[in-house]
Amino acid sequence: MSPTPFLVLSAILFTIGGAGVLLRRNALVAFMSVELMLNAANLAFVTFARMHGNLHGQIVAFFVMVVAAAEVVVGLAIIVTIFRTRRSASVDDASLLKL
């Protein structure tokens, strides 16, 4: 089985995710795009694990999923809090983190 289709799919997903992060203003959408990028990476890891016939890539994928879950918890909490205080979910509005 050739790994190429999987890798191509992974690349497409990653590109979609990256474009989403760069272009969309809505924080939730940007967030989902990040998840998409992470999952694209997971797909590539799993593919390579399969290709090499060992479990290393699978393990990393699990790690990524755990981190992604943690990130979602924290990230969503922040987004909700920002939305509550500013009535907006646009990432461009939250530009206070500068001197």
Binding site: G18, V21, L22, L23, R25, A30, V91, D92, A94, S95, L96, L97, K98, L99
Partner: protein, 650 residues
Amino acid sequence: MSTYSALTAAVTTQAEEHGQAVAEATGVFSWTWLLIAIPLLGAAILLLGGRRTNSVGHLIGTAASSLSFVVGVVLFFAMLGEGATERAFTVPLWEWFNAGGYEVQVSLLLDQLSMAFVLLITGVGSLIHVYSIGYMEHDENRRRFFGYLNLFVAAMLLLVLAADYLILFIGWEGVGLASYLLIGFWQHKPSAAVAAKKAFIVNRVGDMGMILAISSMLAVFGSSAFDVVFASADGASTGWLTAIGLFLLLGACGKSAQFPLQSWLLDAMEGPTPVSALIHAATMVTAGVYLIVRSAAIYDLAPDARTAVVIVGTITLLMGAIIGCAKDDIKKALAGSTMSQIGYMMLAAGLGPAGYAFAIFHLITHGFFKANMFLGAGSVMHGMNDEVDMRKYGGLRVAMPVTFATFAMGYLAIIGIPPFAGYFSKDRIIEAALAENWVIGACAILGAGITAFYMTRVMLMTFFGSRRWKQSQPPHESPPVMTIPLIVLAVLSVVGGAGLLYVSAGIVEWLAPVTGEEHHDLPIPLAAIIAITLATVLAGIAIAWGMYGRKPIREDVPAGNPLTVAARRDLYGDAFNEAVLMRPGQYLTRSLVYVENRGVDGAVVGTATAIGGLSSRLRRWQTGFVRSYALTMLAGAGFVVVAMLLVRLP
């Protein structure tokens, strides 16, 4: 000075002939350290004892000094009991330090030369202590004054008794400190404080010479102990010996107020008068002469350095005399005279073995008569409510008969009327100078004439003429505690010269084992020299009488001719220092402060500011927009990928 080469040849044989053995002290001589320890202890008691010793301070001080004199006399007679060339003793005390092979021993050397100084310092010193009891009676800090005087005596004795140049330098600085403290004794007067500081700093310039001289000795001989240096001197190159001689001369110029470091002495008259008598006339200022005579072994082999000593002495003797002519302040007139007389001693010391003994001889007689006259001036001031302007004196011989009589003895001695002390000592110097070089000799004779002029002027303005004082109570004679030292010194001014020269073998023979001796051929008969000198002196007196004796003295200061004006301003010595050293120095300091703040520190602060500025520029990149950060990350990731591909391609 072509005669020098011949002279040097003569000297090398002299050194062998007149060398004397130096033995380690035994018996009474091993107590030499007491000479220094007693006044030092006195100083410690008086300065640390606080107010408790206020009531007896002056007695402790005087007792310490006198006790030291007694020890000196005992040692002197013990020394007389030794053979003529077995009178040098070393007293090793403790090892000071030994660093990198440079070893310095704290040890004393008591020989004929230092003995002469010991007696002068403790003798005249004790008389001045006694005098000060009366003079400083009403001063609230009299105890401190005596403490400083004792400190001075101790330091001066260390100076003349040291057996190592570095130990000598301790005494050298010690007397400088005592002089600083005593000139500035009345600290509440800004002029006194400034004069004290000036004296110290000018002396420090001389100290540079001392330090470099000792450093050179270390470089050349590996030691600064007298015995090593003197014994190895003839192995050193003439260049180095000349350098050492010139460095020592610089030191001597500072301490002895010789040209070009003379400017501090006139200001030093801000100190109490006994200080002027003891430190700035009789003892401390002659330390330079002692230094040069002590370093005979070096100067004997460095004719160029000796020439420099002679020139410095000659310039100063004329300069001091001219300044003395124009001063209306009695103490400053005497200070100018001191400069001039020390110029004579320097001149004599620069003549080599032919003059060393005469330099010391004149130094001692000068110690007698100049201390006498300074104390006399102090007595006058004491009676005149501390007035120092001679234009406000006049006719004091009636009001102060004892002061007048004693002052007159000093006067006759300094101008060199036979048989007073100065005649013997000064004429010997003039003879030696003439034998050496007629220009120098002529200057010395001219100096004698000017001396006669200004001293006559002082006499006439102070003790003769109309009474120009206006105080309600007439001036009174000083109490016996002040007049007795005056009388003793006056007697010494009369008989001191002949006594030192002719009693027993005389001072020249006494000093010969240390300094060597040499007889010179006079270019003209001795009688002619004496006659010429006396004629010059009488001319000086006559001119002074014509100017100040015949006509009344004006109370305001006349304009005077340019020379008088120059002399009043110390021949522009201060103006020179101010223009050449002080103002550029101030400018340099100010500009350096500017350079420091703007340049050196500016570079440091500038670096910090530049980094701060750069970071505030870079900060603009931090827009706060998440998406632009994401774009930057993407670009960065892309860059990394491209870089990796590029590296892997080949």
